[in-house]
Symmetry: C2
Subunit: 731 residues, 2 copies
């Protein structure tokens, strides 16, 4: 009897395992979910020690043999912590770096401690103790000097530990050594060491003339304001200057950037000899770029070496890169021919030419000889570095397909490209010190993850990891990708469609358009499952069809594709999305009486706009962190695409969703982070006011303490909330 029971049990398990696949929960599908990691494709973490690839694991660092991929322990966590002795300890080796190709030194950074461990001798080779309140730390491996901020002041600590205050008058009005211009133009930090690490260029931002947005903190005994500087479109903007601190002399000089003061000083680049600083300067109107060289010793403006103008906007996003083997030549990126490409400038070959025509009525002026290195109807996504021996540049581009990101080498002499990682998919790569090798991680619609070691000279590849499908045991929806024509009837737009789980073509399904639609982002590419988001799987399980279309205005398709939206954000984007809707309506299994729309940020703007502009089409919408009125958005991003409200009153009016509140017919929920410092609450709240005034019912939720996006457990709560809304009103 006992045996029989046991057998029955085993059979039941077998039936369950074979016949019934599992259903995902949000805890599995969303970052912040308790089981999120369990359904992610396996990954490894690598770094470079010169040209030696290293695998960083929790329990130790392993060298990877570039010939066959085999790993060998370099040192383990226990050893490291032994060597660190009383200085402190780490929980994992995953953050260790190897800054010196020729030396057996491991770099470890802990709060207040910067350490080099000699892993041959098993000792601390060097260390620096720093104020534990330090933020924005920036260490230079050549000088071993450290720059950091405490509050809004900037400090430098030299390799011997001596601290110098670069500024003392830092305040909420005057910020030193931090990112400026609201992280636009590729800016993400505020300190820039000279190559030898003895001079520090840094940003100083005077925002005393910028009003505070009154954010409210409800967690204090009685709620308090957390004033937050926010320059709104057309209003006064901050003034940025660039200082250069000499660690040896303790003196600061200021680059003489002159007036007007509300220009943008972007992509700070040191010359290899440390004598000059290059800045890509942009006027507040963002239609005139100047590449300017300053003397790093006295701050004098030495020369303009390149200029670009465009009737819409110019957007510098990448610093200059000097050739490692020729300090007189540097590579810069420009979209002047309509696509982002590489250009090589010979600084020693001056030109006396005038402005020349560029794409879309733009013009440019070269003050030195420039050679275009890449061209074509595709874009350079990223410049990884050089193979010094072969004299090639290693780039990522979407040359092979608008939705694929591959790795190429570009011969600097003849511009010839060689695909190093040509598989369809989205590749991200890191180059070794000399550039002879790269680690390439890619996913494709069918490949959850593949990590490879590639020789940049010949493309020879060794596989380091091929992840198995972590969704094997789950019931997954069919996910497809395709193109439709944009509203101009000619441009191809890429979409992703997620069909309901257990799809039956004879049924009609409620359908949700997920949208972002703004610049600098895309939703559809050739990564795993075409970049499907966990929430789409969740909804497909619940019987919804999801459709995601990258309209014109989105990323990586060239300037004309992006800037067609200039001065009337939302308009062309919606026209394209409605082509998507027309396509959906042509499908027999799409229930055109049950169409919803959801998006966040620019996608919240699009969602609200679509609900108000096409009230007969969309029955239900959920708009997160939406822009409602571009007047309330910030200067840098806002004026690039919309000009100022003074210059473009009609455009601001057309895109002001408050004025359309009376059109609302379906169910619309707006969700915000109550402390959103990006799309400030004034957007959503002013829309609630407008809706109430128009006697329209709009639903609303706010996450106190939440900012522009929700993280952690809030992300689970948020997506349950969004789901619930469609379940309540669309199903």
């Amino acid at each position: 009897m006992k045996k029989f029971k046991c057998c029955l049990f085993l059979i039941m398990i077998a039936v369950t395992m074979a016949g019934q696949k599992k259903t995902f929960t949000l805890e599995e599908l969303m970052p912040g979910g308790n089981n999120f990691a369990s359904v992610q494709p396996e990954n490894i973490r690598t770094t470079w020690w010169g040209d030696t690839p290293i695998e960083l694991k929790q329990d130790g660092c392993y060298t990877i043999n570039p010939k066959n991929g085999t790993r060998q322990l370099l040192f383990n966590l226990e050893s490291i912590n032994q060597w660190l002795n009383e200085t402190g300890s780490i929980n994992s080796c995953a953050g260790i770096q190897f800054p010196y190709p020729e030396e057996k030194l491991a770099f470890i950074f802990m709060r207040g401690k910067t350490i080099l461990v000699d892993f041959e001798k098993g000792t601390i080779a060097w260390q620096m103790l720093t104020d534990p309140k330090a933020t924005h730390v920036d260490w230079n491996k050549n000088s071993r000097n450290l720059a950091y901020c405490i509050g809004q002041n900037l400090y430098v600590q030299n390799a011997e530990g001596k601290v110098q205050a670069v500024s003392t008058d830092g305040s909420n009005d005057l910020v030193y050594g931090q990112s400026v211009h609201r992280d636009e133009f590729g800016i993400y930090k505020g300190t820039f060491w000279s190559p030898n690490g003895n001079q520090l260029a840094f940003y100083r931002m005077d925002q005393s003339m910028v009003p505070d947005y009154p954010q409210v903190n409800i967690t204090t005994r009685i709620a308090t304001t957390m004033p937050c500087k926010y320059p709104m479109a057309g209003e006064k903007s901050h003034h940025v200057t660039v200082g250069v601190f000499d660690v040896t002399t303790g003196k600061t000089i200021w680059l003489k950037t002159g007036a007007p003061e509300d220009r943008y000083f972007t992509n700070i680049t040191w010359s290899p000899d440390g004598k000059s600083i290059y800045i890509l300067e942009l006027n507040r109107g963002q239609n005139h770029l100047q590449m300017v060289r300053y003397n790093a010793k006295n701050g004098e403006k030495e020369a303009i070496i390149y200029e670009e103008k465009h009737p819409k906007y110019v957007e510098p996003s990448s610093p200059l890169v000097f050739l490692p083997w020729d300090q007189n030549k540097m590579v810069f990126q420009s979209q002047r021919d309509g696509y982002n490409h590489l250009y090589l400038m010979d600084l020693k070959a001056p030109l006396y030419d005038d402005f020349k025509p560029a794409a879309q009525g733009g013009i440019y002026k070269e003050y030195a000889h420039v050679k275009q290195l890449t061209s074509g109807n595709w874009v350079v996504l990223n410049m990884l570095g050089f193979n010094v021996k072969d004299k090639t540049i290693i780039i990522q581009s979407n040359e092979l397909s608008p939705i694929s990101h591959n790795v190429f080498s570009v011969n600097i002499n003849n511009g010839k490209r060689k695909a190093l990682a040509p598989q369809t998919g989205v590749h991200t790569a890191r180059l070794s010190a000399s550039g002879n090798l790269l680690t390439d991680t890619y996913t494709s619609p069918e490949v959850p993850r593949s990590v490879n070691l590639i020789q940049t000279s010949n493309g020879k590849t060794i596989n380091l990891l091929t992840a198995t499908n972590p969704w094997e045991a789950f019931d997954t929806p069919e996910i497809t990708c395709g193109t439709i024509k944009a509203a101009d009837d000619s441009t191809d737009l890429y979409y992703r469609m997620v069909k309901p789980v257990h799809f039956d073509p004879n049924k009609k399904y409620p359908t949700i358009v997920y949208v972002y639609g703004g610049p600098h982002a895309h939703n559809v590419d050739a990564s795993w499952n075409y970049k499907v988001r966990g929430w789409e799987i969740y909804m497909a399980q619940k019987g919804y069809l999801l459709f995601i279309l990258d309209n014109r205005g989105s990323q990586y398709r060239g300037t004309a594709f992006e800037n067609v939206t200039f001065r009337h954000l939302g308009e062309t984007e919606m026209e394209d999305q409605m082509r998507g809707v027309a396509y959906l309506k042509s499908l027999p299994y799409v229930d055109s009486n049950r169409m919803g729309v959801h998006g966040w940020s620019f996608g919240g703007f699009m969602t609200t706009n679509l609900m108000l502009t096409y009230p007969e089409t969309f029955k239900v919408g959920v708009a997160g962190g939406p822009v409602i009125d571009w007047n309330y958005y910030e200067v840098m991003y806002g004026e690039r695409y919309m000009d100022t409200p003074q210059e473009n009153p009609e455009g601001y009016k057309q895109s002001n969703l408050r004025l359309k509140a009376g059109n609302l017919k379906g169910r619309l929920q707006i969700i915000i982070g109550y402390n959103d410092p990006v799309c400030v609450p004034q957007h959503a709240l002013s829309f609630l006011r407008a809706a109430a005034d128009a006697q329209k019912q709009v639903d609303f939720f706010a996450y106190p303490g939440g900012e522009h996006n929700m993280f952690g457990r809030d992300q689970i709560h948020l997506h349950e909330r969004i789901t619930q809304y469609f379940e309540d009103f669309l199903k």
Copy 2:
């Protein structure tokens, strides 16, 4: 053919009119609705000119013959505006007053202008021009002096127009001449003229030690804070002092109220001779009341004349009233025997007695001879004044029924009462100068409105208006009233039930409990349709049954009934409401699977609490402007019922709804005015945070610019919103 058509048309109208009654819209049912006035019972507006009743109409003022009620034109609007000449004009005579019984003078107040028109001569008899920025204006008819505020400073203008600044250092921290203690203890203004109008007692409030709640104004170009002083329970509270300004000398003296400074100085009363000022002083703990006399010339504290202590709280709400015929005797109100009653004190008959026991463990001490004038298990609601000739006091009380408000005369010698307006219903009355007549307006469950002129000596009544039922043409629900036993199994609680329109006892209806439940209010009385709210009619039309129960803790039922909730607000109130639910569940036509709850303010607290405490009972709730945590409520109201958080940590914890957020099961929507200065947004927002942390979905809406209650068009929008929520989730 033509004739036939016409007849058919008439028949159709007749059928429509006879057979089909109309359905209300929210525009008719809600204040703020476009057609609200059209369904309100007719009313008239009256005032007194000495003992002559006057009807105030838009087009003129009419004397009413007290013998037969006939009206005679006194003067019309056109005449008044002619007489006002270039001084200005008024749109209606409805605001005119007649301050002098013996003089033919009409008092007119316009922004910046205080005018007496001689309507016999047709001239301006007297006028005063004042700064148009003046607020809080307070005119004394004897001296014709005017007190007013500009900003936070207090000014006095004498009858000749001379302006004197009583204060010059007024600020947000220091407020002069305005109401204090957040309008609790019957306080509604900050200036008090002496009987002859030559001395002005006034409040000065130092709130520099009180933190600001950061209210946010989103209507400015970039949102701004509107700091708003808000003393939270257990935290530092403002300090109030009382000054006396002498208009003749221009000097101010301060009453020497002494320490501690955070006491409450309430119900300021001048002695008839203008030499003394009486204050009902209450300690911050609100359990010890002292009636104190101050010298109005030098501010000295002259005597304590009465004291009361109570283990829970004492709540003075009415000033002293001196007998018109005997300046040594005054009437005060006290709840010391458990019900609010009148007491007559003979100030010339000192007593040297000790504290004596009062109801519920309270004690009191009289320093002069006191006679209790009224007593019984009912309360004096209001003291209207005196019939000087008969030596009676005219009061309103609920002696005839807990839900009826009637008018009585009380013989001051023997305490005998005579019902002057005994009809079941809710009476409000205004007494003539000598008290020989009163105008009485009442409604009863069946009487939309009746206005009568009553002789206070004998109750003889002349009807001035009997309004017809303005709902005659509408389909109205059956509205009933009854009692159930409270959770103590003995106290009668009154409820109102509104059955669905076209009620069918064999059906089962979704049922909504509307609740307030807090002190100082009641929802059920014997006014028209038992005080039904327009929204209840709206819901009854949509097929809901509404149930409204005044639980213990609510108004007009004596101290034990009210203060049973002391230190644990919500607990007893909910127990009583659940008796209502038990009763509802016993009714065959109540669908106990579809029960909802809705309330605002304290009712929002109750609604949220009921949803979280009885998650199996209530499927849907809408909580407006709720208290979530009494820590966030203000000192005066909050500490009266809850003591401080330091004194009563357990009570604050038990009533902290954040801690119950995880219990949420049904659908709960919280709605607030985004700028609520009463239940500050910290309540609702902190609950949203708690709900998100507990992974519970709560719905939310905020009216930017809205305060504690919505007015005007927002009220329509709000009730459509509330309705929609029940329609979405309860129907």
